[in-house]
Amino acid sequence: MEFGLSESQEFLKDSTRKFFAGECPSAEMRRLMETDTAYEASLWSKLTEQGYPGIIFPEAYGGVGLGKVELMLLMEEAGRALLPGPFFSTVVLAGSVIEAVGSPAHKEKYLAPICRGEVRATVALVEASASWNPRDVQLSATNGKLTGEKLFVTDAAIADFLVVVARNGVFVVDSKASGLTISPMSGMDLTRKLYRVEFSNTPAEHIGGTTDLPRALDIATAALAAELVGGMQRILDITVEYAKTRKQFGKPIGMFQAVQHQCADMYLETESSRSAVYYAGWALEENSPDAATAVSIAKMYASDAARTVGNRGIQIHGGMGFTWENDLHLYYRRAKASETAFGDATFHRERIARLVIDEGAVSAKHA
């Protein structure tokens, strides 16, 4: 048994960190967040050169064929850089759903272009009920046409196609399809744009049933938690650096235990989230019986921890932490958006309860 990263995993993490630091430094991230879609074609082609869009997908579709632990590492580093744009929506979300539910022909048609970096995509799941449970979806296709509304759809305006979850299956809608209206929702996170998507007799291609959807959503949920870990690490690093250099009463503020102990808690929360996320990645990769529980544990813990780490980081920075120019609030905004996305801590605690408290539920892999 070995919980540590292998040499190739360390290499991936390291090279990914360097890549994002070089290609998407803070200034570039801030430039992109001020644009309508936070998408930059040149950055996307560099991501593609690295093979990131195909990281977890089979080589048969042009992917790299790496595992879920590797995906966690990549997303952690993307989170550290607060990578703007549709990478999560396209690759982690749409890609995973297509891989889970689609036929080989559909994968050839929709997944392969994702792996090749040729398209942007997203998944439309949540409706007005704001439930992340696919069982609460009301939208239903009639004769291959969709009519209804989806909310909180990430990166929809830059997507070439949308993967839509309906009661009677998973569908793909082309961005140029008739009766499709995409309008922005003004979310707190400026780096990942949210949209309201309306369908009015919109043609949609059925690509599969919803049975295997939970696994794809679990991959996305764990990846989002991984992203939160990267964000937490960044906040911790910035804050510890500040506590070492900022002086009050003639001493670095990090010397005061009221400050130092908060930094220690930030470290504990960050490391514990990371342990939970890596384990979730491993459990998903191994199809372990506790994979769903592990994902909920990771998302539950990281959702709360990211908010708390952000609270502490801003507080320790004092007035500087409250300014626009400091990057902290950008991570804090992402943390709030990601906290609720795919279920907040309360949602996942209830899911854990269904999996481990309710009798007979323990054997169920996905709840």
Binding site: F3, G4, V240, P252, C263, A264, S275, Y278, A353
Partner: protein, 395 residues
């Protein structure tokens, strides 16, 4: 990263399982309710049996009758012990903390004198670290040892000594040079508790029992050959013991926590909350799920720390995370239990209405000590702040 057990780990587990199946006593549940004084011979006998099977000190090197077990194998060991509800070992400090320190710092004569009897539980060990005026600030301890020819003369007082009442030997930290900075004038002595001038008194704690002792030393003569490590290098020797305390201890606790949460989930189906089983109460479910999740994360943190220890060779300051994590979690778990049991939660062992013979009311009180013993949460946070994050020392 691969969390499957390797063939060697599986073999280790299976060999242990087979041995435990054949040897674990089945009457421990009756004994465990008796006072420690009564059950102690039973625990000694159990350790002796484990030692005969070479299972008493799996982490120790093979040359010292251990199995050179990896950290993962050690975790497997404690999981299996918990699975069969095996009794604890009588000499737990000797095996877990002091023996490894003697192996690391002791002379050949000390090793051959002390190690076999630690293993066989013939000699029980206790630890003389804390003093009334030296708790978190351990290095300020005042118990002094003055060299007199080939003996040290020890005077002072120690407190919070586990197993003091039954200890034959004590790992004692003393001040040998008062004229240098506080960390540089300490020495570790191995003291025979039967020496004239040693007095042990029970210390009654808030649970009502006396797990710990106070120890008084009045002109106690200790031969110089019982110095462990170098004279005035006692801080490093003591810290090595403390690191053992903080590093791998979590691996022993996790199976116990797991058993507690499983039992609590079972009980939550029986106790009523707002007109239905507590297990159906949305708020209770949230709290149970939180505890369940944190107990899982405790294990994952532990396994990750193992990988780091394997890479660096020694437990590091990251062990402080484990200490904070398990101690605070244990307190929260006990509070959730109290909320589920309502007024029944407060009932003590002797009461016929007590839940699980009072283990939860006891646990509620006992866990207050968790964030104090083995380094307070405040000290652990300062260790993380300074030694892990590189912030300036705050004290």
């Amino acid at each position: 990263m691969d969390l499957n057990l390797s063939p060697e780990e599986l073999q280790f587990r299976d060999e242990l399982r087979a041995w435990l199946d054949a040897n674990v006593p089945h009457d421990w549940s009756a004994w465990r309710e008796k006072p420690m004084e009564e059950s102690f011979p039973y625990l000694r006998a159990w350790q002796r049996k484990l030692h005969e099977g070479r299972w008493a000190a799996v982490s120790w090197p093979k040359e010292y009758e251990g199995r050179s077990a990896t950290l993962t194998q050690q975790a497997i060991f404690w999981e299996e012990m918990a699975r069969v509800e095996a009794p604890p070992m009588a000499n737990s400090l000797g095996l877990g903390l002091i023996g490894p320190t003697i192996i690391a710092y002791g002379t050949e004569a000390q090793k051959s004198r002390f190690i076999p009897k630690i293993l066989s539980a013939e000699e029980i060990w206790c630890q003389g670290f804390s003093e009334p005026n030296a708790g978190s600030d351990l290095a300020s301890l005042q118990t002094e040892a003055r060299l007199d020819d080939d003996h040290y003369i020890v005077n002072g007082q120690k407190v919070w000594t586990s197993y003091g009442w039954v200890g034959n030997w004590c790992e004692l930290v003393v001040r040998t040079d008062p004229n240098v900075p506080k960390h540089k004038g300490l020495t570790v002595l191995l003291i025979d508790m039967k020496s004239p001038g040693v007095e042990v008194r029970p210390l009654r704690q808030m649970t009502g029992e006396s797990e710990f002792n106070e120890m008084f030393f009045r002109d106690v003569r200790v031969p110089v050959e019982n110095v462990l490590g170098k004279v005035n290098d006692g801080w490093n020797v003591a810290v090595s013991t403390l690191m053992h305390e903080r590093g791998a201890y979590g691996a022993r606790l996790h199976p116990l926590f797991k058993r507690n949460i499983n039992r609590l989930i079972e009980l939550s189906r029986k106790f009523q909350k707002n007109g239905h089983a507590a297990a159906q109460d949305p708020l209770t479910r949230q709290k149970l799920a939180q505890c369940y999740a944190e107990i899982e994360i405790m294990r994952m943190n532990q396994l990750r720390a193992f990988s780091r220890i394997s890479a660096t060779g020694a437990p590091g300051p990251e062990g402080s995370i484990q200490k904070i994590f398990w101690s605070e979690l244990n307190q929260r778990l006990q509070q959730v239990a109290q909320e589920i049991f309502g007024p029944y939660g407060q009932l003590l062992g002797g009461d016929s209405h007590a839940v699980d013979k009072g283990i939860w009311s006891y646990g509620y009180l006992r866990t207050r000590g968790n964030t104090i013993e083995a380094g307070t949460s405040e000290v652990q946070r300062s260790i993380i702040g300074h030694f892990v994050l590189g912030l300036p020392k705050s004290y």
